[in-house]
C-alpha cells in the first residue's frame, strides 16, 4: 500500500496540446480554472457577494471580476464563478460560498467545463461563424457574457477585451467547439 499512496493521479486536460487560429485570430485552451455553478435567491445575493469577495452581477449579460475571481450572470438566480489558476477541486470557491451561511447551491464544475480563448481582430467574426449573438461592442461590450449556442453546442461566452473572448464549454463538446472555431478563424482571416 505504501508505494501506492505516493501514486497521486495526474491531470489530463481536454484540448491539451491543441492550438490553432489564423492570421486574424488566435485560438488557445485556457489554463485550468476552478469553477462553481452558483445558485442563490435574490435576497441572499449580497451575502454571497461578500463571501466571494466580488459583486455578483444582477443585470443580465454582465459579469464582474475582483480578487482573481470572475462571476458571470447566467440567469436570474444563476452565476458561473471561476478563479484562474485554481486547484483541482473547486474547494476555495465552494468554501468561500459556504462561509456566507445563507441558503444557496454551489456545485463544483471545474472539470465539467473547459475554456477556449479567442483573441485577435477577427475574434468576433470567428465566433459569429456559429454564434447568432450580435457581438458588436455596442451590443456585447467588454465584460458582457451569455450562455448561448455555438453551432450545435452550448457555450458560455465572455468578452474579456475588445478582441478577446473566453468560450466556456462542456469538456466533451470542446473538440467540436475548437473545430468550429478553427473554421471560423480561417474564414475570419479572409
Amino acid at each position: 500500500m505504501a508505494e501506492l499512496d505516493s501514486n497521486i493521479a495526474t491531470r489530463s486536460l481536454p484540448l491539451s496540446g491543441v492550438h490553432g487560429g489564423s492570421a486574424a485570430v488566435r485560438l488557445e485552451p485556457a489554463q485550468p480554472a476552478e469553477r462553481i455553478n452558483l445558485r442563490v435567491g435574490a435576497e441572499d445575493v449580497s451575502a454571497l457577494s461578500a463571501a466571494l469577495g466580488l459583486d455578483l452581477p444582477v443585470k443580465p449579460k454582465t459579469s464582474s471580476s475582483a480578487n482573481g475571481r470572475t462571476a458571470l450572470w447566467i440567469g436570474p438566480d444563476e452565476w458561473l464563478v471561476f478563479a484562474d489558476g485554481g486547484g483541482s477541486i473547486g474547494s476555495s470557491l465552494t468554501q468561500a460560498a459556504a462561509s456566507s451561511n445563507v441558503v444557496h447551491s454551489a456545485t463544483d464544475i471545474s472539470h465539467r467545463n473547459t475554456a477556449i480563448l479567442v483573441s485577435g481582430p477577427g475574434a468576433a467574426a470567428t465566433l459569429n461563424a456559429g454564434c447568432a449573438l450580435d457581438l458588436s461592442l455596442d451590443a456585447f461590450p467588454i465584460g458582457a457574457c451569455s450562455r448561448t449556442l455555438f453551432g450545435k453546442v452550448e457555450i458560455v461566452l465572455l468578452r474579456t477585451a475588445e478582441n478577446t473572448f473566453r468560450v466556456e464549454v462542456w469538456r466533451s463538446f470542446s473538440d467540436y467547439a475548437f473545430g468550429l472555431l478553427s473554421e471560423g478563424a480561417r474564414d475570419a482571416a479572409l
Binding site: I8, P14, D77, N113, N128, A139, S172, G179, L190
Partner: protein
Amino acid sequence: MSASSNSGAFRIKGAGRLTPARTARFTFDGKSYTALEGDTVAAALLAHGVHLLGRSFKYHRPRGILTAGPEEPNALLDVSRDAARRQPNVRATVQEVFDGAKISSQNRWPSLKYDIGAANDVLSPFFAVGFYYKTFMWPKEAWAKIYEPIIRRSAGLGVSPTEEDPDHYASRYVHCDVLIAGAGVAGLTAALSAAATGKKIILVDEQPEVGGALHYDASTTIDGQNGYDWAQATAAKLKAMPNVTVLTRTTVFGYYNHGFLGLVERITDHVAKPTKDAPRERLWQVRTKKVILATGSIERHMVFANNDRPGIMLASAARSFLNHHGVTVGHNVGVYTAHDSAYEAAFDLKRAGVSIAAIVDSRDKPGEAVLAEARKLGIDVLTGHAVVDTSGRLRINSMTVARNGNFDRRKIKVDALIVSAGWTPSVHLFSQSRGKLKFDEANQRFVPDVYAQNSVSAGGCNGTDNLAELIDEAITAGGGRIALSGENRFEWTGGMIGAAEGAGPDHAVKAFVDFQHDVTAKDIRLAVREGMHSIEHIKRFTTNGMASDQGKLSNMHGLAIASEMLGRPIPQVGLTTFRAPYTPVTYGTLINHSRGELFDPARKTPMHALEEAEGAEFEDVGNWKRAWYFPKRGEDMHTAVSRECKTVRDVAGIFDASTLGKIEVVGPDAAQFLNLLYTNAWDTLKPGKCRYGIMTREDGFIYDDGVVGRLAEDRFHVTTTTGGAPRVLNHMEDYLQTEFPHLKVWLTSTTEQWAVIAVQGPKAREIIEPFVEGQDLSNEAFPHMSVAECTVMGVPARLFRVSFTGEVGFEINVPADYGAAVWKAIWERAQSMGACLYGTETMHILRAEKGYLIVGQDTDGTVTPDDAGYGWAVSKKKTDFVGIRGLKRPDLVREGRKQLVGLMTKDPKEVLEEGGQIVADPNQPKPMTMLGHVTSSYWSENLGRSIAIALVAGGRSRMGETLYVPMADKTIAVEVTDMVFFDKEGGRING
C-alpha cells in the same frame, strides 16, 4: 488578330467595359474558346456567335440564352473545374468565365445539335400537360417496370456529381440596422442616404459589380456622371465608410421572420485558382432592424409562336451584352416589343453598327420620343404588328410578321430577335416577408401594398419608373438627407401580359410561357378547360413557374392567360406564393460547417483514448462514443463479449460509466423535491446511502431511472440514463420553476464533472482498495447502496457501492481530468489480477441476467413501474408525486396489461430476435393475436444459454406457460419465467 477578335467575332471594338487584354480560356462541349475577364459564360459564347446552349426539358427543343441575369430559365449548363468540382444546372448568364473552366450542355444525346429526345417535340400532342397523370395509369404492373424508368430517365435536368464535394463553405451571423437588397440606382441611393445617418448598413447585390440596370442602361446619368461609373464610384465611397458593408456576388435568397434574411455570397466560383482557405460560398444569416428592398424589375419576353429559338432574347439582355461585355447578339437583329425599353436596345445596337431589321411593336402608339429617335436613326418601325412565327432550326433565321388582325404575313430575315413585353417588379422578397401585394391595373403588375415587417420598397420593385421619383423614394427609404439628381433619355411606356397576337386560343401554336418546363400558352388554356380554376392548381397541373427559375418571366404571362380563359380579372385569379430561395442555393452553403467531424459533436469520455488504445470498438449512444466491447487479437464480437461476461462474474471487470447523466440537487428542500419527481420516497434516505429511483411522467409511464445518492441532508447526487440526461434535467427544471417554485432547491448538471469508473465482480473490492483513502470498504462499513466522499489516488472522489451486474460493485467518481490517470492505475492492477475491461454490450447482458431494466429498451413510454415489475419503487405513502394520478387511470390498473417477464427458449441455443412478436397459439388464423414482444435478448455465456426479456399481456400470471415467437422461417417456442436468470437469491451482490 486583334485581342477583340480573339475573344469572339461578335465582340465590337470599343464597346463594353471589359479590358480586351485580360482573357480567360474555357471549353464548351469540348471546344476551346477565349473570353474576356468579367464575361459571363453567356456573354463569352455569344461573342463567338454560339447561341445554341441546350435542349429544353420536355420537348428537347434547341434553346439559347434568354436573359443576361439570374432569372435565366434556358441556358443551364454543366460547369466543372475538375472531376470533383462539377456543378449541373448552372445559369450561363450568372456564371463568370474563369480560366480553365470546362463547360458542357445538358439534356441532349448524343449531341447538342442532334438530339434524339427532340422526337418529343414532334410527338408533342402526346405530351400535353398533365399527360403523365392520364397516360400512365394502366395497367398497374407497368408502372414499376415500364413507365417509371422512362419517366425517371427523361425527368430532371443535368447530372449530379458523384464525388464528394472537396470545397468548404463558410457561415457568418451578422446584425445590422439596415439591409439593402439590390445595388442599382435605388439601392445605391438608399445606401448613401442610410449611411449618412451613421447606422450600420449592409448593401447586397447578386452581380459581380454594383449598378443593376446601369449594366445595360448606358443612357442614364447620375449627378452628371455616366450611370455605371457613378455606381462604381458610389460603391467605393460606401465601402470606405466604417458603418457600411458592401457584398457583391451575393444573393438575398430568403426573407424570413423578424428581420432575418439569408444571403449566399459566391466566393470562388469565378476564380481560376482559388486559395485553399477561401470557401466556395459563404452563408450570411442577417438579423436587421430594417430592410430596404431595391430589387428592381425583370423584363418579360413576348409570348408568340416559336418564341423559344436560340437567338431570341430579352432586349435588356442584348443591351447588357453590348454595353457591358461589348458583344452583339447578331449582325441583323429584329425587335419585337410591347414596351419602349426595347427601342433603346435597338438604338444602342444600331449606333454600334449592328443592322436592325425592324422594330415590330404590338402597340399602335409607342412612346413618341422613342419613335422619333427610331426614325432619326433610320430604323424601320412596324406599329400595330406582331411576330407570328419564327424559323431556324438551331438558331433563328427569320421572323414572320403580320399586321394585327390581318392574315398577310411576311418573312423578315434576322439572325437574332430581341423582345420585350415590359417589366415585372421583383416583389419576391417582399412577398417572402409576408407582405401583401396589390394589382396595379393601369400597368398590369403586382406591387407591394401592406408590409408585414419593417421594410420599404424603392424603385423598380415598387413600380416606380420615373428616375427622379425613384431617387426621391430611395433617399426617403434610407432616412438620410442627401441630394442626388438623375437624368435618362427616354421615359418608357407600354407593356403587356399574356399571349401576343397570333398565339391566342384559336391558334394551335407553341408559344412558350415557361421555357424551362416547356409550358405553352396552349397548355395553360388546356389546364383551365380540364377544370383547373385556381392559379395554384393551374400551376401544379402545367408546372408553370415550378422550374428552378420559379417563373420569374412566366408567372405574369401565365396568370394573364388563365385570367382570360376564366373570364375573371387577374386579382381574382390570384398569384401563387413566392417562396425562398429566390434562386437555387447549394446544399454546401446551407449546411456549411456541418459536415465531417463537425456534422455533429462526438462526445468522448476522459478515458476514451485509453480505451481506444486497448482496442475498444465504440457505439454511438446519443452523441456519446461509448466503448462497446474490447476484442483481443483474433476475437470476434461474440467471443469478446462472452469472455468479458464470464470474466466479470469470475474475477472482475472495469467499465466506463462516465456518460451516465448526473444532476446535483442541492438545497434544504432537495428531498422534498425528489419526492415529487420520483415515485420513491427520499426523505427516509440517510446521507451516505443510495436508492434506485424511478421517474414517471404525469401520465404514470416510466420516464427515466437511476441511482440517487444522498451526500448530505441538502445535497443529492442523481444519476440518469445516458440518453436521458438532458431531457430529465429539463423535466426537473420545468417542475421546479413552474410547479414547485416555492421549494428551496437548485439543479446543476454534473455529468461531465465526473469521470466514472465502474469496477464490478468478486474481486472488485480487492482491486480498488489500495487506491481509496478515507473510506472503509468492508461490507459492514460500506454495504451495497452506499455512497461516500473520500480520496482516490489523492484526488477527492465520490465512491458509490452500486451494482448493475449483480456482483459486488463500485463506481468511482473522480473529477474528469483525473479520470484517465485513475483508470490507468486501476486497470493495471486489475489486469494483473485477471480482470477485464468491458463495454456496453457486456453491461447489457450482465444486467439482463439479473433482470435489471433498461429504460427505453425494455420500456417504450407505455410501461408503468408495476408493468415493469418495479411496483415496489412506487411509494404508497406519498400524497403527491408526478405520476400519482396518472397511475390510477383505469387503463393503468386493469388486469391483463403487458408486463415485463423473462423468456427462455425451449432450445437453449436459440437466441430470440429483439422485437419478435409473441403469440399463444402459432396455428391460429392470421391476423394473430399478439401478446407482446421481445424487448431484450442475448446469449448468456454465464448461463450457457439464451435469455430474453419481453413485454407480455398478463405476463406475471403466465409463469411456466409456453408461448411462441413466429419468425419468417420458423416458430420458436419459449417459456415464460421471472426476469432474474442468474443468482436468483442475489447473494453475490453483497460479496
